[in-house]
Symmetry: C2
Subunit: 149 residues, 2 copies
DNA sequence: CGCATCTTGTTGCATATACAACTTCCTTGC
DNA sequence: GCAAGGAAGTTGTATATGCAACAAGATGCG
């Protein structure tokens, strides 16, 4: 059935998931990025540092898969972080395959971000409720299972 | 207690809300934007069209407040949309206060987006569960109540 | 009335993100 | 071994977003 502008606007207002999730992202990422700002890093960057801390040497494509980000995005984010000296990106001598890993400076920044992260995480957890991470994980599992369909 | 890099990385992996919400946003907004692409608009733009459909003439600052977006972001988004001819932005003759409203073309685009929006909304709702909008609304209410603190 | 202040909108600068197109390397199949 | 196809990264282009700094009104108080 054809829907007119007013109906769609009301339906979106009532329950658009995209709108709600976008707003949630703005409100929460602002808090994390604000807390991390004195350290000169952002939450997506911290996420990459943590992935490398856990995974050791990782290829860009593997990071992209792990974080559910496009390869092109990872490519640029790694460039910036390499510029900061937090990671090292090595091209295999043969030429093609690459691998990224934490530098000492990167591990230090990561460790130094602990307080800011803890503070923010606790504040947000307090607001959203202690079950929110599990709820989010359930949603993410569903989305991953569904793939790009 | 001082946390080292490994501990922080593990803690983030276990439950970082910022990371989870960022990923949720990427996965869901990709779906909406993909569905809307043939119409030449994005979800944030559709959100603004819907806000104007419901609210009539609105000042940029009021839109920013309603969508929980920075004034600077709204300023640029409105420019782009005005360029598309979907909205009209009038400066009060006296000079300062502005107001935006839908054009006929904007209302048409909004109405035309109904099918794509419905399809995507239903698909995502199926994945996240029918209670997900209410859960998100609860979280957003908490975050709004807390303000920028 | 006039100045100090608050409100609003814009612009500079930077990040994150995506899709598309391109390059390059690697893998298979013949 | 070589050519065709797939995988991996980069780069072009565009949007969304935020903070800071600035510009321009609008307001209120003395």
């Amino acid at each position: 059935m054809q829907q007119d502008a007013e109906e769609l606007a009301q339906a979106m207002r009532q329950g658009c998931l995209g709108v709600r999730i976008g707003r949630l992202h703005r409100l929460v990422s602002r808090r994390f990025d604000l807390a991390l700002r004195p350290l000169g890093l952002t939450l997506p960057q911290l996420e990459i540092l943590a992935a490398l801390q856990i995974g050791g040497r990782l290829k860009p494509g593997a990071i992209a898969d792990a974080l559910a980000v496009e390869r092109s995005t990872i490519s640029r984010n790694l460039s910036r972080m390499e510029g900061q000296g937090w990671i090292r990106v090595e091209s295999a001598p043969s030429g093609y395959s690459k691998a990224a890993e934490l530098t000492d400076a990167g591990a230090e920044v990561l460790a130094g971000a602990g307080d800011a992260w803890n503070r923010t995480q606790e504040a947000v957890l307090e607001l959203l409720g202690s079950d929110s991470p599990a709820v989010l994980d359930g949603w993410l599992a569903q989305l991953s299972k569904a793939g790009d369909g």
